[in-house]
């Protein structure tokens, strides 16, 4: 009976479908409505096809329920539903060129079509990477990479330093929060700044679990994959380029620490009159204070002093400092590369050199990069590919910047510092002392900032070689088997050579001279040098399968095993004394064993000795992984990946656990659905992935571990317990959920991507507070175990708007918006052993972990204003108003502080506009913004003013008379020395010095021009100009401070660069 019913139903369906069968003429055209001849149209799964004629007409029997495949040599193959063909009767073919330009995501293991991946990727191609012509790849990525934040807030004083990268926040507490960098298939441990940006073809940023989980235990903070340029099977091309970057000299006048000499001297006089300066034999006082003492002791007269003071009050060290020690930095780079193909392969070669005269005179930085990438078909099935990179880097730091000139124990220069060379500057001890020292047999103890470079040879050299190659055998049915190998080797050396006349040598020799004149360090130059090397191997065996079944099912599989080793070796620091400047021969024996008496204090100490320490670090990983993607009908894609990591860090128990890291994902191309019709939406895709990545804290192990070093106090080798061992140690796990929406509007004039993510950090390493009787003091020696949890959540928006698209004029607008917030969700709260001060700091690189607080935050003291004597008002625990600031600070507990906020931007984004005229002129500008965070600005400290010579422009706003307290928060002069520091703290760490970081910045403007020459000599000539760091357009705070680097001595200098590219 049942069978009968089935037979009936079957027949019924056959009848119905035959009813819908129609013979029709279909017109096949291209995007510009031209007829396409010779296109093949067939039913999916059938073997017979019809070809279109000259007019693009093809006759075919159509069934509404069937699906049809149209293909042509020059066009993209497409699959269409029968009912749609019945309705439209026209097929528009997309030119195949588009398919070649199909965006490929490089995961470091394979390239995946972005069309068919459910993960969260951003691919930066030629257009994005060449938008800026900066010589540093990192600068080119900043503000155009969604979700990637550059953190510079711990930059203190001089220079810019290397920013820390945060991809979608940080989901670890003590582990490394920076993303993993992959360069051509394998992890890259070097400095990204050393890579020549001209050699990079694409940068793929893997943000979620899907592709990142394939990198396993180190991918918890995202992965950035850099791929170098490769040749293609085209005729040989050459490109020559040369670039020039200049920047303005540092502008110290805008520094909040810059106070005019008269104001500063008045303040010194006030303090002097209160008797707050001490004069002993050697304590370094300012020249003014020295003279005030001289006057007091009758050594000079009032009129002598006045004559001197009048001149000094008008002085300003800045013009002299910038003129004598700084210069306009000039970076010049040039390079030549060649790419092409031959019958059996292709190649890309590149040589580049860059020399950078940095802003501090006599400091330079030179880099050379060589790249050779070759692809060679040994047989039809067997391909060999080799990528080779050589980098060489020499940094010379003989020059003196402001931080080298600031005297020992001081934080800034006196506003009336003189750079007149015949005087020299006391850098450590008082001028009277060093003057008398000269006649007491000591070497000249002055510091000559302008001369010092002549007596220094400071060089840092780095060399690295990276060889990365593989063989791949292609079986005809879609299976590839291959292996890849990486070999890297590098060396670095750091030499600090101070000639006998250098301040470093003279000072050390003098310090190690006893007050009775016995010299412990022989006369001559002093050198400190160290060096090291690194090498790494990685081997990967992989299997890859990719096949299309009936154009309906697309399957790709990838599986591999990998071993990875990286070894760091360091040589001991070599210290040589008494070096003859000419022969370069140093003293052969120095007594490091016996303490000697030092000057000027007369204390006993050892001569600084070589550390005698060879370092050897070995990192080994072993991993097994598999990755799968299945696409059905170009509409649905499912992906999955799994990876097991083992390493030599944790010991056998850990490796036996083999907790796999995994991910799965789904993609739904809504637009491809038959039922989906919208004239507005030209593309619509929904994506989701979930998975688990890992992170490691390399400082922890399962066993009690000691670190060994030289003990300079007793001359033995000392062992320091690093931890008492944690047998249950494991990876930190980060589970990531990503939801994505890709859309195109108005025929893809507006293309956008919106992604939401949650990252749950589990088993994060945190401090577990232990009874200190165990010997764990919870400060230096801590008990760190896997138990903390954290949650990071946010969203990324990426919009590209083709605002105007005409033949002669194009306007493209890109908007990037990111939001990321994190908080700790499980931690041993409250009593976690951190001092109150660690919640308040200025740099606040690390905040003590607290449940329900973000990872980086700031607290402040409560601010109750000033009283009518210009003192901050504070209340003691019993509620009484007091001026006993020491007692107030001592009595504070965390709940007495005011929470100020997150110190890392939670909102950030950029808006870039590119205008193209006639395909030749290209103008682009970039605006960026950051918001949702606070920072603590520097402020006036009377203690620093008195002791560290660091003033603050707020001095002029300080409380001076009754009534001032109504309009200023800057405390008046302190009344006594004893409580000065605490009184300063009450103001400096108060709510009043917390500023909102929200700001909008004009990052850069770039202008590019393509010359109309195209002849035998040149194929293409491009010239581009870029102006960078144009300043802050708007900031919520009224302070003239860069919220990204509030502690910097000067704002990021304006930078201009030029790049000429000639293709021939």
């Amino acid at each position: 009976m049942k069978i009968n019913v089935l037979v009936f139903l079957f027949l019924h369906i056959v009848c119905l479908s035959s009813l819908a069968q129609t013979k029709l003429t279909i017109r096949i055209i291209d995007t510009e409505s031209r007829s396409v001849k010779g296109a093949s149209l067939k039913m999916l799964g059938s073997n017979s096809a019809v070809l279109s004629d000259q007019n693009g007409m093809a006759m075919i029997t159509l069934k509404a329920a069937d699906r049809y495949v149209v293909s042509h040599l020059n066009y993209r193959t497409d699959t269409l539903a029968g009912n749609r063909l019945l309705e439209e009767r026209t097929i528009v073919l997309q030119p195949l060129v588009r398919q070649i330009e199909e965006v490929l995501v490089q995961t470091g293991y394979q390239s995946i079509s972005k069309e068919r991946s459910a993960g969260s990727f951003q691919v930066l191609g030629k257009e994005q990477l060449e938008r800026s012509n900066s010589a540093n790849l990192l600068n080119r990525l900043e503000n155009i990479t969604t979700g990637l934040a550059f953190v510079r807030k711990d930059n203190n004083g001089e220079g810019e330093g290397t920013p820390k990268l945060r991809l979608r926040g940080m989901t670890t507490i003590f582990g490394d929060g920076s993303p993993l960098i992959i360069l051509d298939n394998f992890p890259f441990n070097g400095n990204i700044g050393d890579i020549n940006p001209e050699d990079i073809a694409t940068v793929s940023v893997l943000r979620d679990a899907s592709a990142a989980s394939i990198w396993g235990a180190r991918a918890g903070n995202g992965v950035i994959v850099l791929t170098t340029k490769k040749g293609s099977r085209k005729p040989q091309t050459f490109q020559f380029y040369t670039g020039l970057e200049v920047a303005s000299k540092p502008n110290f006048t805008q520094s909040p620490y810059h106070v005019n000499a008269a104001t500063f001297m008045d303040m010194e006089k006030t303090f002097f009159d209160k008797g707050w300066y001490e004069q002993n034999d050697w304590t370094l006082n300012s020249p003014y204070i020295d003279r005030l003492f001289d006057l007091k002791n009758g050594k000079i007269t009032e009129s002598d002093l006045n004559a001197w003071t009048t001149g000094m009050r008008r002085r300003d060290f800045i013009p002299e400092l910038t003129k004598k020690l700084y210069r306009t930095p000039v970076l010049l780079r040039y390079g030549l590369n060649s790419a092409g193909g031959f019958a059996k392969g292709s190649y890309y070669f590149s040589v580049a050199h860059q020399s950078d005269q940095t802003t501090i005179r006599h400091n330079t930085d030179a880099k050379t990069n060589v790249v050779a990438n070759i692809d060679y078909r040994l047989t039809d099935a067997l391909t060999l590919d080799v990528e080779t990179q050589v980098m060489h880097n020499v940094v010379k730091t003989d020059g003196m910047g402001i931080s080298n000139v600031i005297a020992a124990g001081k934080s800034y220069l006196l506003p009336y510092t003189s750079f007149e060379e015949e005087y020299g500057i006391p850098k450590r001890y008082s001028l009277p002392y060093i003057e008398s020292a000269g006649s007491n047999g000591y070497l000249d103890w002055r510091f000559y900032p302008e001369q010092e470079y002549k007596f220094r040879e400071n060089r840092d050299r780095d060399f690295s070689f990276r060889f990365n190659g593989g063989l791949r055998y292609k079986f005809p049915f879609g299976l590839d088997i291959g292996f890849k190998q990486l070999y890297t080797v590098g060396s670095s050396s750091s030499g600090r050579y101070y000639l006998s006349n250098s301040y470093e040598s003279r000072n050390l020799i003098n310090q190690y001279t006893s007050p009775d004149g016995i010299r412990a360090i022989p006369l001559g130059g002093i050198s400190n040098s160290s060096g090291g090397s690194q090498r790494g191997y990685a081997s990967r065996l992989f299997l890859s399968f990719e096949r299309n079944f009936n154009d309906l099912h697309q399957l790709n599989l990838f599986a591999g095993v990998e071993r990875n080793e990286s070894v760091l070796e360091g040589n001991p620091t070599l210290v040589v004394y008494g070096i003859n400047d000419q022969t370069r021969i140093g003293a052969s024996s120095i007594d490091f064993k016996n303490p000697v008496q030092m000057s000027p204090q007369g204390n006993w100490s050892y001569i600084p000795a070589p550390d005698g320490r060879f370092m050897l670090k070995t990192d080994r990983y072993e991993a097994y992984y598999a990755n799968m993607g299945y696409t059905f009908d170009r509409r649905y894609t499912a992906t999955a990946s799994v990876r097991v990591d083992k390493c030599n860090l944790f010991g056998v128990n850990f490796n036996q656990k083999r907790v796999p890291l995994w991910s799965t994902g789904l993609l739904w191309n809504v637009k491809a659905e038959q039922w989906f019709k919208s004239s507005l939406l030209s593309a619509l895709k929904l994506r989701t992935t979930i998975g688990e990545n890992g992170n490691v804290d390399k400082t922890l192990t399962a066993y009690p571990i000691a670190t060994y070093s030289n003990d300079s106090f007793n001359g033995f080798i000392r062992g320091t317990l690093a931890n008492t061992g944690n047998p249950s140690l494991q990876w930190e796990k980060i589970r990531t959920l990503n939801l994505g929406l890709d859309f195109g509007l108005l025929n893809n004039r507006i293309v956008g991507q919106v992604e939401f993510y949650n990252k749950w950090g589990r088993d994060l390493i945190g401090d577990a507070i232990v009874d200190p009787t165990t010997g764990i003091d919870n400060q230096v020696l801590r008990n760190r175990i896997n138990y903390a949890n954290a949650l990071t959540r946010g969203f990324d928006v990426d919009l590209t708007i083709q605002a105007i698209k005409q033949n002669q004029f194009n306007w493209m607008s890109n908007v990037i918006l990111g939001y990321v917030s994190n908080k700790i969700t499980k931690y041993n709260d409250g009593q976690n052993g951190w001092a109150i001060a660690s919640y308040l700091g200025q740099e606040q690189v690390f905040s003590p972990p607290q449940v329900d607080k973000p990872q980086n935050y700031l607290y402040s003291y409560k601010w109750n204003g000033l009283d009518n004597e210009g003192d901050p008002v504070v209340y003691l625990t019993d509620g009484t108003v007091s001026k006993n600031y020491a007692a107030y600070l001592q009595g504070l507990v965390l709940s007495d502080l005011v929470y100020a906020g997150n110190t890392v931007p939670t909102w950030f984004g950029s808006w870039r506009n590119t205008f193209n005229i006639a395909g030749r002129f290209n103008l682009s500008f970039l605006l960026s913004f950051k918001a949702g965070y606070v920072y603590r600005r520097p402020s006036l400290s009377y203690y620093s003013l008195l002791n560290n010579w660091m003033g603050h422009i707020e001095m002029q706003d300080r409380w001076q008379q009754v009534g001032d307290e109504n309009h200023t928060s800057v405390p008046g002069l302190p009344k006594d020395l004893a409580s000065m520091t605490q009184r300063d703290m009450v103001y400096q760490m108060s709510e009043r010095t917390v500023e909102s970081g929200a700001h909008i910045r004009m990052e850069d403007i770039q202008f590019a021009y393509t010359f109309p020459w195209k002849n035998r000599l040149f194929k293409k000539v491009d010239l581009s100009f870029n102006v960078k760091n144009l300043g802050i357009l708007w900031s919520k705070s009224k302070e003239h401070i860069d919220p990204d680097m509030p502690l910097s001595f000067y704002a990021r200098p304006l930078q201009a660069s030029m790049l000429l590219r000639v293709d021939f």
């Binding site: 190659g469 190998q485 081997s539 030599n648 106090f713 000392r718 062992g719």
Partner: protein, 454 residues
């Protein structure tokens, strides 16, 4: 084409040489970092005990000194002192710590004890064959440092010694294994003192006579410590015996007459009187610029006392201390020969061997005074003289507190400490429970052990 073949050869060579590297069996057994490893050899264990930052340098033990009568601070300094617990120690307050945590005087010795326990445990697993003498020396050192640390802890946190109550009064937690998961409990005073005595006696048997560098324990040091310990226990014959044994190994004194009085610090680091070197952490209240030597103590030095110029310098009517055997401003808290001479003299005097005591003292005194001294001949006067002499010689070494506790056991030598600052007067009665400091709050909170009543 030739070039291409070269390139292929180069690549193939590169690839195949590397494969061999990837196939090692013990790949994951590599030590991650050579300078970071599991301590296994005798050298590794020795290195743990040679860590001067943990074992000997700036190693806590300031609480007893902050509470003695050897110094005072001026009001302006007092007001500005950043740390309330230091003021509380100065005024012998009932509650010392307030909400302050991380007490160095507790944490530092217990960290040393962790090091020692780890060394003692891992010594059992050191592979044969090994140098037996070195093995014994390391074991002796670990026992010495552990006993030394227990002693410092007992001197701060253990109940006062009284043979009639020492079975029940609470001593300190005796952690004898490194496992941090084991609970912390308090021992009795008897258990504490017995542990110290036994550990130290065993270490005296194991250790070599004199050390290579004075940050390492030695037989001389163990015996010197025992002479101090038995003096405290009022076991005078043993004190005399161990002092003599120690002096037999090391007895040379610095001739103070030959030293310069114009230096900022009169004595050198590891000078010849030092037997075992340790120094006190830096505490704001004891900082060289803040602390003034008690006027009453300064008055104890007579005109011909060489120490007067070597130990002190005048500063605006106050006296500053410059006599540390650390060669700097930090206080020396180790063992030195001068103490052993004085221990021996007192132990002899206490036993009634007055002539021997005077003879011993005179051997010592000739290096301290310009002229020969008149030494009182009666036992009581001699002991009183020696008590003053201990103050004059052993100031700021962490010894006064122990001596005060000793003297206070007997009605004829009891001392009431008095101090006034900021218009208030403070006293510390001779039998006060405040001679015993409270256990740090977090320890009581986490472990539930009994707090000391004050």
């Amino acid at each position: 084409m030739k070039y291409i073949k070269c390139i292929v050869c180069y690549a193939m060579f590169g690839l195949f040489t590397l494969i061999t590297n990837a196939c090692k069996k013990d790949f994951l057994d590599a030590i991650p970092e050579r300078a970071r490893s599991i301590p296994t050899t005798l050298a590794d264990l020795r290195a743990l005990l040679d860590n001067s930052s943990i074992i000997s340098k700036l190693a806590g033990y300031g609480m007893p000194e902050m509470s003695t009568d050897d110094y005072y601070v001026n009001l302006n300094i007092w007001t500005a002192l950043p740390r309330a617990e230091q003021k509380n120690m100065y005024t012998w307050a009932a509650d010392i710590y307030g909400n302050f945590e991380g007490i160095d005087d507790w944490n530092a010795p217990y960290q040393r004890i962790l090091y020692c326990n780890l060394v003692l445990e891992r010594l059992k697993a050191v592979a044969q064959p090994y140098d037996v003498q070195e093995f014994n020396d390391i074991k002796g050192s670990a026992l010495f440092i552990r006993a030394w640390s227990f002693w410092e802890l007992y001197n701060c946190f253990g109940a006062l010694y009284d043979p009639s109550t020492w079975e029940t009064e609470l001593g300190i937690p005796l952690r004898l294994v490194s496992d941090i998961t084991l609970p912390t409990t308090r021992s009795t005073v008897r258990e504490t003192l017995t542990q110290i005595e036994n550990d130290m006696k065993e270490s005296a048997d194991l250790l070599q006579g004199l050390p290579q560098v004075k940050t390492r324990p030695s037989k001389a040091a163990a015996l010197a410590f025992l002479s101090r310990f038995y003096l405290f226990m009022e076991n005078y014959p043993q004190s005399e015996k161990t002092a003599s044994e120690s002096l037999a190994l090391q007895s040379d004194l610095l001739d103070y007459a030959s030293l310069s009085t114009s230096l900022n610090y009169s004595f050198g680091l590891f000078n010849k009187e030092v037997i075992f070197h340790t120094s006190m952490s830096i505490y704001a209240i004891l900082n060289a610029t803040r602390l003034n030597v008690s006027k009453e103590l300064h008055a104890l030095y007579k005109g011909d006392d060489l120490r007067k110029e070597l130990f002190f310098k005048a500063s605006d009517g106050d006296f500053k201390y410059k006599g540390s055997y650390n060669g700097s401003a930090a206080f020396f808290t180790g063992l030195a020969v001068d103490e052993v001479w004085l221990n021996k003299a007192e132990a002899l005097a206490q036993q009634g061997k007055l002539q021997d005591a005077i003879k011993t003292f005179k051997q010592f005194a000739k290096f301290r005074f310009k002229n020969e001294q008149d030494i009182p001949a009666s036992k009581d006067n001699l002991l009183a003289y020696l008590r003053d002499e201990r103050r004059r010689e052993l100031l700021f070494r962490g010894i006064r507190w122990m001596d005060l506790k000793r003297y206070n056991r007997h009605s004829d030598t009891q001392i009431v400490l008095e101090r006034s600052i900021d218009g208030k007067d403070y006293t510390l009665a001779s039998q006060s429970r405040r001679y015993v400091f409270p256990i740090p709050n977090e320890v009581v909170r986490i472990t539930g052990i009994a707090q000391n009543e004050r």
